[in-house]
Each structure stands twice: as C-alpha cells, then as structure tokens.
C-alpha cells in the first residue's frame, strides 16, 4: 500500500515542477498538430457559408478564443476556491500562471469579434449583452492581475485575488446564456448537441482549433507556473538544488 500511486503528491510544487516541465513539449506538439489540422479543414476544405460568404472563417479563432477565455476563468476560480478552502500553495501559483493567457484569449475574442462584426453588422462594437459581458471578463482578468501585483505579501495577494475570482465567476453564465436571455445582435450558439447549424467540415475545423487553443493554454500556463514556482519557493531546498544544477545562462 505504501507505494500506491498518489495523485495528491503532485499538489506539492517540488513534484509538480518536473512533471510540468516534462509535459510541456507534448502539449506543444499536440497543439501544433491540432492547429495544422484545424487550419487545413477550416481554411482550405470547408465550404463557403451561404449567408456570410468567406467572412465566417473568423469563427475558427473567434469561438476557440471565446471558449478558452471563459474556461480559463473557470479553472482559475476553481483554484481560487481550493486555495481559500485548503490554503494550498500550488493553487495561487496556478491562478497566477493562467491569468495573462486568459486575458489574451478574452482580448482575441473581442478583437476577432470586432473584425467579424464590422462586415456583418456594420459596426466594430455594439453595447450588446454578449459583447459587454465578454468585455467585463477582460476587465476581471486585468483586475485580478493588477490586484495580486499590488499586494506584496504573496499569501494575502492570493487570498484577495481568489476572492475577486470567485465573485466574478457569476459573469461566466451571463456570457454563456446572454444570447438566450436577451435579444442580442450576436448570433446564437453555433454548436448545438441536438442539431448543429454548421457543415461537418466547419464543425470539425472549429473543434480542432478549440483543441489547439486548449493545449496551447496548458503548455503556456505550465511554462509560466514553473517560473512562478522557482520565484516563490526560492528559499526551499528543492529550488536551491534546481538552481545549482543549471549551467550559467543555460535554459532547461
């Protein structure tokens, strides 16, 4: 029983650090494969949309970026809840590592949305429920990063940031259901379990791109969390050993 595989072991930074480092190349490789397949299907194979012409092809990044912007926030809120409940060290680091990528995804969602809205609606921006709630999501990411950066004591920064994340989580269902709850300019969801409004190649192109974005986000968050771990755990023996091992200037 003593040698039984224990998942909780990876909740410790000292064991998670090498694991994340070993996994990064795989996530990068899988992300590139999904991305190439998705671009090939979406940009080269998928047919023209009968309503939106070729302009609809923005969907292949707009939807994955929007999904990731919401999903990353949920993951951060999950870590915030764990951190506040159990006072674990890893959770604050995870939330910190995910925030910039989440903010970039929210920005990409708004940017590609503007470039899609202009030719289809005639406006870069409208104060519509979907768009406004996504903008609030971007502000929540920026607010979280600014708040945690402004507090010197790391544990207090994590607690304050975690609280902000948990309060802000109410925004996620608002974004998701906004096209149902309110009469908006934004089109309804493209993917529907009962019947999808998209051609099969379009749907697969989009799902592959979503997987690409997902794997990218994991890879970049792992890269970031490893640096955060070294920084925050710099007084522990394992970080000292890790730093002593490195060749000067070398990157591993």
């Amino acid at each position: 029983m003593k040698d039984r595989f224990n998942l909780y072991r990876f909740a410790s930074p000292a064991t998670f650090y090498p694991l994340a480092g070993a996994l990064i190349p795989y996530f990068v490789a899988v992300s590139v494969v999904f991305g190439l397949a998705g671009l090939w299907l979406g940009m080269l194979v998928a047919p023209t949309d009968f309503q939106q012409g070729e302009g609809y092809r923005i969907i292949f990044i707009h939807v994955p970026a929007s999904w990731m912007s919401m999903f990353i926030y949920l993951v951060m809120a999950f870590w915030a809840a764990i951190g506040l409940a159990f006072n674990t060290r890893l959770s604050g680091m995870m939330a910190q590592a995910l925030a910039p990528t989440g903010a970039l995804m929210a920005f990409l969602s708004l940017w590609t949305g503007a470039l899609w809205g202009k030719p289809m609606w005639g406006a870069w921006w409208v104060w519509d429920a979907r768009l406004t709630s996504e903008l609030i999501l971007l502000f929540l990411y920026i607010g979280y990063m600014a708040l945690t950066a402004a507090i010197d004591d790391q544990r207090r920064a994590d607690k304050a940031g975690g609280l902000l994340l948990l309060v802000g989580v109410v925004n996620i269902p608002i974004i998701y259901f906004s096209v149902k709850w309110w009469n908006t300019l934004h089109q309804g969801s493209s993917v529907n379990l009962a019947k999808s409004s998209m051609a099969t190649t379009m749907l697969w192109g989009m799902l592959l791109m979503a997987m690409c974005f997902w794997m990218y986000s994991i890879a970049i968050a792992f890269m970031r969390v490893r640096t955060i771990m070294l920084e925050r755990e710099r007084h522990t023996d394992w970080v000292r050993a890790e730093l002593a091992d490195k060749i000067p200037g070398g990157e591993k």
Binding site: L44, V45, W116, I220, R226, T227, R234, V239, L243, A244
Partner: protein, 70 residues
C-alpha cells in the same frame, strides 16, 4: 477537395480578406509573442535567483569565517 481555385482567391477571402487575415494575423502574433515573453521572463528570473543565491552563500560563508576566527 481544396475549396479554393487559386492562391489569390484564398488571399482575397471573397472580399473579406482584411477582416479574416486581420483576425488570424493578430492571433498568430499573440501566440508567437506570448511564449517568447514567458521564456524570456524565465531566463531573467533564473539569472536573478541564482545571483541572489550566490550572494546569500557568500555572506553566509563570511559569517562562518568570522565565527571560526573568534
């Protein structure tokens, strides 16, 4: 199987070229710059932590010397 008749068709995107490539271009740019920034930040952080560690061990060994001499 390929939807496009020519490369210029592909670039033009049926008149939506500016919007489609504006979206894909900025996305590609962000997904290139973000990993570069993260890797750069990692290099800088590791260099700084090593410097701090060296400075710490120097002061510790000096203190040891003093203690031994006394």
């Amino acid at each position: 199987m390929i939807h496009w008749n020519s490369f210029s068709d592909f670039i033009a995107m049926g008149g939506y070229g500016f919007y489609v490539w504006g979206s894909f271009g900025v996305t590609a740019l962000i997904m290139t710059i973000e990993p570069i920034m993260v890797a750069r930040n990692r290099r800088i952080t590791i260099a700084r932590l090593k410097r701090q560690l060296r400075a710490e061990s120097r002061t510790n060994s000096r203190a040891d010397h003093r203690n031994n001499a006394e």
